[in-house]
């Protein structure tokens, strides 16, 4: 029946929005609150996805691990794994301007992609990892989809709540002070570096969690499952459009951008086959253009960070 199909589709969309919402929240800690440029979001996402899959899936002679542990352990492992990769990168790059962090995170994502492609014993090679368990996976299809959707939304809300608390605490106020006043930040010296590192690692852990949410939703993963640059880029647009520095903005951005992105696919799918392949790239072009337009005309996003929290022009509103 069409309506069931529609509901299933809506559930799917909702789940993906929830997952991207978690990613956007992770980026908000790094960029929105701390001003750190992470261009390798997809890398941390992939690490989380693979780790959680390997921890929870059943063993296979072709690859390592497959510990069949509870999903919650997988999620924790995903967060820890992403954090562990972020830590040394942050240690090395956070002393410099964010341009260096950007190139280093692009590099991390690239290396992670190389490892996953090359080390078949780790990633299951081209076939990837299958049989990843899903919470509520035993239920009937629609119900299972819906239950998982509810779970993702619950996780999103928990992450949101935890971050809001963290931001309201002295930690959050200090982060924003550091972001907005380089000089004052420099005067605080080593302490600043530590705070930034905490933000970077925390954000990466949240991205790893999003990867875990994704893999248990899809129940399988291959190295080609996500286009790293497009995924990274979508998250950036979500945050900037929604409002950097504002957690609700991040979630709003995830909703809007994912809907636009999926709708555009919907439209291009209707096109004749010859131009359909081109159409994918036209979509990428348009999403890039969208970023330029937002940066130019509404850099503060739809839900700007509450004024008063902002002490100086980090992303000053356009005149």
């Amino acid at each position: 029946m069409a309506s069931i199909g529609l509901i299933n589709y809506a559930t799917f969309m909702g789940t993906m929005i929830g997952i991207y919402g978690v990613l956007a929240l992770g980026l908000n800690i790094q960029w929105g609150v701390t001003g750190l440029f992470n261009a390798g979001i997809a890398g941390f996402f992939a690490v989380g996805a693979y780790l959680s899959a390997l921890i929870t899936a059943s063993p296979s002679p072709e690859r390592i691990m497959g510990w069949e542990l509870p999903v919650a352990v997988g999620w924790l492992g995903a967060m820890a794994g992403a954090a562990l990769i972020a830590w040394p990168i942050g240690r090395i790059c956070l002393r410099f301007r964010s341009d260096y962090l950007a190139i280093a995170t692009i590099g991390v994502a690239e290396v992670i992609r190389l490892v996953l492609r090359t080390e078949e014993g780790l990633s299951g090679g081209a076939r990837g990892i299958t049989g990843v368990p899903r919470p509520f996976g035993g239920l009937e299809y629609s119900l299972s989809q819906f239950a998982y959707f509810a779970l993702v939304i619950a996780v999103l809300l928990v992450v949101y709540w935890a971050l809001e608390r963290q931001l309201a605490a002295p930690w959050g106020r200090m982060m924003k002070a550091i972001r907005d006043n380089e000089q004052a930040a420099a005067a605080m010296g080593k302490n600043v570096e530590k705070r930034r590192l905490e933000a970077f690692v925390l954000g990466a852990a949240v991205m790893g969690l999003a990867g875990a949410l994704y893999v248990h939703f899809m129940r399988a993963i291959t190295p080609e499952a996500i286009d790293p640059m497009i995924a990274t880029f979508l998250v950036w647009i979500m945050l900037i459009l929604g409002g950097s520095g504002n957690n609700r903005g991040a979630i709003l951005g995830a909703i809007i951008v994912w809907i636009i992105w999926s709708m555009s696919e919907f439209i291009t799918d209707q096109l004749p086959a010859e131009i359909a392949t081109q159409a994918k790239y036209i979509r990428v072009f348009l999403i890039g253009l969208m970023l330029q337009l937002i940066l130019r005309f509404r850099p503060e996003g739809l839900l700007p960070e509450e004024s008063g929290q902002r002490t100086s022009p980090h992303l000053p509103p356009s005149r």
Binding site: I92, D99, Y100, I103, I106, L114, L295, R296, L315
Partner: protein, 288 residues
């Protein structure tokens, strides 16, 4: 020994000079305009495909198409600046960095729409390697090295002796003071984009003629080019050249110690090492 030279050192130097041409652009933008330009690899890709377009439309040989592509890419680079980067000038530089990441994607997708995603080549001529003593060099390799040498020498002479070259160095050295001297900021910016665009096209072209044209080639090479720029010292043209050669050689030699799929991770490891040990690079560049 000869095998070592011909299988590792020669390709390393050729790849290295390609990286050098890209790294010069990155280092000039970093030094003068003060941001990391993440569309640089895709600018190189655009240049390579524009040369391909020129061979097809104008019936030129690849090497004759190169100057055309360099000119067009110079205009393209300046156009991108005017349309997308310029209005971000008064805002924190990191916003331009973000914008450039998006520009890279846009350039890549235009190439993918126009030329498709299957690998292409400039021509099907099979070039035999010629022997120079123990060295075996293909004509295209010799041409790549000669082109790099000529472009680098011209650029260095321009920066050293011409009025506007000095203005570019002054702007990189001390922008406030340069403005006090009456150096026109916009003029230097325009000039920088022209030079950088032309060099990116040359880099992409050489990459294409020595291997093949793929829409991802510039993006994949960008990490190496950035590593080369940082290794040489940000803002240092001669540093970018040395950095490019070191990275190119290191990548080719890396297969002796790690599995070949990890070749492209070499640059990343070197980048982290240099940031850790000597962030100003070999030639004492800027640290932003």
């Amino acid at each position: 020994m000869m095998e070592f030279l011909n299988f590792y050192v020669v390709p390393g130097i050729v790849t290295g000079s390609i990286y050098a041409l890209g790294a010069i652009g990155i280092t000039l933008i970093f030094g003068i305009l003060r941001f990391g330009h993440f569309a640089h690899g895709d600018l190189a890709t655009s240049g390579a495909y524009l040369a391909l377009g020129a061979t097809a439309l104008l019936g030129l040989t690849p090497w004759a198409a190169l100057p055309v592509a360099m000119l067009l890419t110079a205009l393209l680079a300046y156009g991108i600046h005017r349309l997308f980067y310029r209005h971000l000038e008064s805002r924190p530089k990191i916003l331009t960095v973000i914008a450039s990441l998006g520009i890279g994607m846009m350039l890549r997708s235009v190439v993918q729409v126009v030329w498709g995603v299957d690998p292409l080549a400039y021509g099907s001529g099979i070039a035999r390697a010629q022997a120079f003593g123990p060295l075996m060099l293909r004509p295209r390799e010799i041409a790549t090295l000669a082109l790099t040498l000529a472009l680098v020498a011209t650029l260095l002479a321009f920066l050293r002796y011409s009025k506007w070259g000095k203005a570019m160095r002054a702007m990189s050295d001390n922008p406030d003071l340069a403005r006090l001297c009456g150096v026109d900021n916009d003029g230097v910016t325009r000039l920088t984009w022209f030079i950088v665009g032309a060099l990116a096209a040359a880099s992409g072209f050489c990459l294409g003629i020595n291997t093949e044209l793929t829409t991802m080639m510039g993006w994949s090479a960008m990490l190496s080019m950035f590593a080369a720029a940082v290794l040489g010292g940000v803002g240092r043209v001669e540093g970018a050249v040395v950095g490019g050669l070191v990275i190119g050689l290191a990548e080719e030699l890396s297969v002796l110690v790690v599995p070949s799929p990890y070749k492209s991770a070499t640059a990343f490891v070197i980048l982290l090492a240099i940031l850790l040990l000597r962030p100003q690079g070999i030639f004492k560049g800027k640290v932003l």
